[in-house]
């Protein structure tokens, strides 16, 4: 079983004048098993920084982060805000590039491309695809490494509402099939409610404001009354937090 254990995580940035700014302030978070956790919060609350530290892209100033899968280090997949595909490689070659385990990679790649509905576009170059298609390739790429833990950084934020809604449904379907441990950063409460088992709200200053359990049946639709009600409740809590800040 995969897990993310974050203890007392602190991240400080230093500007050119030597002044320190704290962007994450004592984050304690434990995520384990087949759980989909969303991190939400206003701009500047440190959501992306938290994800980058968990993935190892950025260093931390204090505290600890452990990604485990049983008694070994967890394998991680990452979906970025923008697709970050190699423009000089075809779709299939992009998926091949991230494989640690090359045995059976073609079947895996084809399987996840089929799941995102782009199994027929493996020979295309990224620039021949739309933004939504590129992002779906990014999702397929992350799943194709068969990660123990999947990290996602606002993957639908650059897309229009219709494409984003369609991709959320794709993502939920793939996740229900593969059941990874997911840490999903978003500023979109609808997205968080529709996809998550748990929502962690970050407050300005990089502290955890509160954690909300989402106990709704899946698959969910944004138009479901229960989803809409919870969404309204989370937004109301956001307003309270912002008023207090």
């Amino acid at each position: 079983m995969a897990s993310i254990e974050i203890d007392g995580l602190v991240k400080d940035y230093q500007n050119r004048q030597g002044k320190q700014t704290r962007v994450l302030d004592g984050i304690d978070l434990s995520i384990s098993g087949e759980t989909f956790v969303s991190i939400v919060g206003p701009s500047g609350s440190g959501k992306t920084t938290l994800l980058n530290i968990v993935s190892g892209i950025e260093s931390l100033s204090n505290g600890s982060v452990r990604l485990r899968a049983g008694d070994r280090d967890a394998k991680v997949g990452y979906v970025f805000q923008d697709p970050r595909l190699l423009p000089w490689r075809t779709v299939t070659q992009n998926l091949r590039f991230v494989q640690h385990d090359r045995s059976g990679w073609e079947q895996r790649a084809q399987h996840y491309l089929d799941l995102v509905g782009l199994g027929h576009l493996g020979d295309r170059y990224p620039a021949q695809l739309s933004g939504g298609q590129q992002q779906r390739i990014g999702i397929a790429r992350a799943f194709s490494v068969e990660p123990d833990i999947l990290l996602m950084d606002e993957p639908f934020s650059h897309l229009d509402a219709m494409t984003s809604r369609s991709l959320r449904e794709h993502l939920e379907r793939i996740w229900l099939e593969s059941r990874r441990t997911v840490m999903f950063v978003t500023h979109d409460v609808t997205e968080a409610v529709q996809l998550s088992d748990r929502i962690v709200v970050l407050a300005p200053g990089g502290r955890i404001h509160e954690t909300i359990e989402v106990d709704l049946p899946r698959p969910r639709r944004a138009s479901d009354p229960a989803v809409a009600m919870l969404q309204a409740e989370v937004l109301a809590r956001f307003e309270v937090m912002e008023a207090a800040a």
């Binding site: 990452y78 970050r84 190699l86 590039f97 991230v98 490494v145």
Partner: protein, 284 residues
């Protein structure tokens, strides 16, 4: 004589886009939908006009100092039939090839560290600036003074001329690598060798091509100049010999062969570039 670049650094043409944009410019449809004459036809007319002017001036002067185009073409044909053209071009190209290999061996790593480190960029800027601005004639004279008559001088000179172009363009290529792609590689825990092969190399290839094409043109000219002073074969040597024997037609014939060879090599490099960047063509 080859004049060195007058800029502070060897010129860096935007990678890949220069030829692409030039091609696009050449093929831009007219607003009224009319089709003009093909570019090849215009170039041919221009060439024929120049040859006609040459022939007329030669006919008016009527002196050995300016042979007619027909005499020069005759000598070109003689050199090709006798095999002298191939043996001397082979001698020159081997020297340039070795010099160019040395320039790539030095320019690629220098450019790479310059692109990755501000310190290294500053460190190498001045030596490359000096190398890029030494007059071609000075290279030729120093080549003769240091290495004497033989192949070593032209080889070293062509390497020295090419290094700045390659290094500066590779450095630009490395700087152009998308940081987002590098973070993607870290997130997926890619090995440095994979990052080099799949991210850095494709990203800098366009810049390397620009550098190589510039460097080759420069190295080729300076190498020929060096052969004039200190070689016992090659195109430059043949031009000097024709000069010493006051055979103007031979001098012009060798010069013509030289230009034709440069154009063919340049076109060959352009074709290779088109193949390497097939993925860009696919985007159109």
């Amino acid at each position: 004589m080859t004049s060195p670049t007058a800029t502070t650094e060897p010129p860096v043409t935007p990678p890949g886009q220069s030829s692409l944009n030039a091609r696009l410019r050449g093929r831009r449809p007219r607003p009224d939908g009319a089709r003009g004459p093909s570019r090849w036809l215009v170039s041919l007319v221009s060439l024929l006009a120049a040859l006609a002017t040459w022939a007329v001036v030669a006919w008016i002067i009527d002196d050995n100092i300016l042979p007619t185009p027909f005499e020069v073409f005759g000598r070109v044909a003689d050199f090709i039939v006798s095999g002298a053209a191939f043996s001397n071009f082979a001698a020159s190209i081997v020297k340039i090839g070795i010099g160019f290999a040395l320039a790539l061996a030095a320019g690629l790593p220098i450019g790479f560290v310059m692109g990755r480190s501000r310190f290294m960029s500053t460190y190498f800027s001045m030596p490359l600036f000096v190398l890029g601005n030494v007059p071609g004639l000075a290279y030729a004279v120093f080549g003769l003074a240091i290495f004497g008559v033989g192949a070593t001088g032209p080889i070293v000179v062509s390497a020295l001329v090419a290094v700045p172009f390659i290094a500066i363009n590779v450095a630009e290529g490395v700087r152009s690598v998308d940081g987002g792609l590098l973070r993607m590689c870290r997130a997926f825990d890619r090995r440095p060798v994979d990052v080099m092969r799949h991210v850095y190399l494709p990203a800098i290839t366009a810049f390397v091509f620009v550098g190589v094409r510039y460097a080759f043109a420069m190295a080729w000219k300076v190498e020929a100049l060096t052969e004039v002073f200190g070689a016992d074969n090659g195109v430059g040597f043949m031009i000097r010999r024709a000069y010493q024997e006051f055979k103007v037609a031979d001098m012009l014939a060798w010069t013509m062969l030289f230009v034709i060879a440069m154009v063919l090599i340049e076109r060959g490099l352009a074709r290779i570039e088109t193949r390497v960047f097939a993925w860009r063509k696919e985007l159109a």
